[in-house]
């Protein structure tokens, strides 16, 4: 797969504060890329560098193989975390103005805008002022403004914060459709669980440093660690207590949390390289009815916490 965007050892300092320290990311074409990390990690700074809002101190960024240039702004659609529009300007004029800033002709902008207004069923807002719209409605306009010039790269900073669930879903579907039509998407967020199922590549950033990146499934596989949540309806309590001790001697065992209707014993067993699921299952079977046997796939959040604690 071709890479659309490559950031190579990008660093940025603000005074004495290092916002980014030799961060490199590679965003494959047509992917949904998650730029994840807590608040203040440097995500927004990196995005601003990609948007040519701020210049990196060192390192360089290429888009489609070319170093970033002024004309690349047309290829990028950016929805910042802090969103806003001119409150007293009419929706239609505003959309056309912002599209023209991105290099579209007025006629072209009009056609595209009409298309999107119809698609999102907001055609009758054209002559209204932003201040007459609700917050959710204004966000739809903001989305239209972001994607209208058909950019190759879409960047959403904290994409779903502030959207109500219905709008968030609508926008999510539209983004997926744009991806299917060939756009590449970058999601930047500190709420990792909100984009986990959408992303196919991620980069984790913590305290100005990239700590991990790659294809999400590869990463998860690397961190999955042969862990299972199990539930057993035990027949002989004393025998099972002994078996539990035995399990604990070779694996890491901790109480598990999952919903069930019975009063079975719930355990989380981390086997690592010391066993296979089949062996575990056959051992458990001898003590009673196995009601629950599920592999624990680490969430990005877990992976993040684990990596941060490892790096310390």
């Amino acid at each position: 797969m071709n890479s659309l965007l490559v950031a190579d050892t990008v660093s940025k300092k603000f005074g004495d504060f290092t916002a980014l320290n030799d961060v490199s990311i590679t965003v494959p074409e047509g992917s949904i890329f998650g730029l994840l990390g807590p608040n203040g990690a440097g995500k927004t700074t990196l995005i601003r560098i990609i948007n040519q809002i701020t210049m990196p101190d060192t390192g360089n960024v290429t888009l489609g193989g070319e170093p970033l240039q002024q004309h690349h702004i047309r290829d990028i659609g950016y929805m910042p975390e802090e969103r806003g529009l001119y409150k007293s300007m009419k929706v239609g004029e505003q959309v056309l103005y912002l599209a023209q800033l991105k290099g579209m002709s007025k006629a072209e902008a009009k056609t595209r805008a009409k298309h999107w207004f119809e698609k999102l069923e907001i055609g009758d807002w054209w002559g209204k002022k932003i201040q007459e719209l609700s917050k959710g409605q204004a966000q739809k306009i903001q989305f239209v403004v972001t994607v209208m010039h058909q950019p190759k790269l879409l960047i959403f900073d904290e994409p779903f914060s502030g959207f109500d669930p219905i709008n968030a879903n609508l926008i999510k579907d539209e983004i997926l459709q744009l991806r299917d039509e060939g756009a590449t998407v970058i999601f930047s967020t500190h709420r990792m669980e909100s984009v986990e199922e959408l992303c196919d590549h991620i980069a984790l950033i913590n305290k100005s440093n990239k700590i991990l990146d790659g294809e999400i499934n590869t990463i998860k596989r690397a961190y999955q660690n042969n862990t299972f949540d199990i539930g057993v309806q035990v027949v002989d309590e004393t025998a099972f207590a002994k078996a539990q001790q035995q399990l604990a001697s070779s694996f890491k065992v901790s109480p598990a949390q999952f919903k069930s209707l019975g009063n079975e014993h719930k355990l989380r067993v981390e086997m690592g390289d010391n066993g296979t699921p089949n062996e575990l299952l056959s051992t458990l079977q001898t003590y009673g009815q196995v009601t629950h046997f599920v592999e624990v796939i680490p969430s990005v959040n877990d992976i993040f916490i684990q990596t941060v604690s490892q790096n310390k």
Binding site: F14, G15, I53, Q70, P80, E82, Y86, L101
Partner: protein, 411 residues
């Protein structure tokens, strides 16, 4: 609005003078109680004031009459045989104006002075005929004569141009600042600067408002020019006549009233270096406006809302006010003095001060020097402003100090 504002300005001036007239048009009646009996002839009735002499009824009765008939007041001159000067008191419901009191003081003083002169054996009629007035004719070495009015016209035009420039800078500069703050508080700024460079956005604002200012002024100049031509035609002024006014004629003009004054005024206006003044206004407006509005833009970017701008306004308002004061005092007093010359070359004050000096004819080298310095300075402030602007528009929350602003220059 742009077309009408000069007319509205003229209308306002007329309205104010009309209202002032109305204000003092009430006819006042004053009771006079003169115990000395010397000043009866002093209080003769005028258009605005009439006097009722109640000297024979005494002070208390006079007060009663003044109160009952709601007269404006009462003047009491008591008799004091021990001193030569009789104490004079004014009684009234309200504090009288300076003009009014001054008028009465003049009348009484004149009377007493005349009495004293007569007592010294001086013939008043002889004294009156001995008095003489002199009117100095002003002429430059090339033989061009000008009247005293010329200085007033020059000061008036220069002052108006300088003041106008300051107003333009403040009004349009504030416009730039408010628009920056609006974009920042609306949070649209990040969307915009992902499409255009912050410098382009800032310069776009500055250039746009500069053109608006120039258009506005051009319209005023046009309206003023048309007005001048119309007035010249109406009063039949021959521009060339202005240079050949002989002393006798100018004396005659001053004796005759209004129409000749207008003609003289028009002649003086036509003698002004109007082209230089208008050209100077454009050049200094553009230079001064670039200089100040880039600072305005930086201030707008540094703060989150308009109330926070106050702490940064001082560096803008101070040099502008200084320029206006230097202009109105130093330039009018001596247009080519050291203070006026220096301030018309220092870039922060030069636009205003130089404009005020231009009607008095400034050496070319000074104009060139001041324009060069102005351009160099505005290039610097635009650079400086854009640095702060670029960082400031993305900074929220903390109210920055001057120290922070300096730090931003390094980002």
């Amino acid at each position: 609005m742009t077309f009408l504002s000069p007319l509205i300005l003229v209308g306002m001036i007329l309205l104010i003078s009309y209202l002032t007239q109305l204000n003092s048009e009430d006819k006042r009646t004053i009771v006079v109680v003169d115990e000395s009996g010397q000043f009866e002839s002093v209080f003769f009735n005028t258009d605005k004031t009439s006097y009722v002499n109640l000297s024979d009824q005494g002070l208390d009765a006079g007060k009663e009459v003044a109160k009952d008939d709601a007269y404006y007041g009462l003047i009491h001159i008591s008799k004091n045989p021990e001193t030569a000067i009789n104490p004079v008191t004014f009684y009234g419901n309200e504090t009288p104006s300076f003009d009014f009191i001054g008028d009465i003081e003049d009348r009484i003083e004149k009377k007493i002075t005349d009495q004293n002169l007569v007592a010294q054996g001086i013939n008043l009629t002889a004294l009156e005929t001995a008095k003489s007035t002199i009117d100095i004719n002003i002429e430059n070495f090339s033989g061009e004569s000008s009247s005293k009015m010329s200085n007033w016209v020059k000061a008036g035009f220069g002052g108006a141009a300088g003041y106008l420039l300051m107003m333009f800078i403040i009004i349009y500069g504030n416009m730039v600042m408010r628009s920056v703050i609006e974009e920042k508080t609306n949070r649209i700024i990040e969307v915009i600067i992902s499409s255009v460079k912050p410098f382009q956005l800032m310069m776009g604002k500055i250039l746009g408002t500069t053109l608006a200012g120039i258009t506005q002024f051009a319209i005023w100049v046009l309206v003023g020019g048309v007005l001048l031509v119309v007035l010249t035609a109406v009063f039949g002024v021959d521009p060339s006549a202005a240079t050949s006014v002989n002393p006798a004629a100018s004396q005659a003009q001053e004796i005759a009233q209004d129409p000749n004054m207008v003609i003289e005024l028009l002649q003086e206006i036509q003698k002004l270096p109007l082209l230089q003044l208008v050209g100077g206004f454009f050049v200094y407006f553009i230079g001064g406006y670039f200089l100040y509005s880039s600072i305005y833009a930086a201030i707008g970017a540094a703060v989150d809302n308009e109330t926070d701008t106050q702490q940064f306004m001082l560096p803008i308002i101070m040099p502008l006010m200084l320029a206006i004061y230097v202009g109105f005092f130093a330039v009018i007093d001596n247009p080519h003095g050291t203070v006026a010359t220096v301030f018309s070359i220092i870039p922060l004050t030069s636009p205003i001060v130089m404009l005020m000096r231009i009607p008095f004819e400034v050496p070319l080298w000074q104009i060139i020097l001041s324009i060069t310095l102005l351009i160099a300075t505005f290039i610097f402030t635009v650079w400086f402003g854009s640095k702060i602007y670029r960082v400031g528009i993305l900074m929220y929350g903390k109210k920055p100090t001057y120290k922070d602003l300096i730090k931003w220059l390094k980002y």
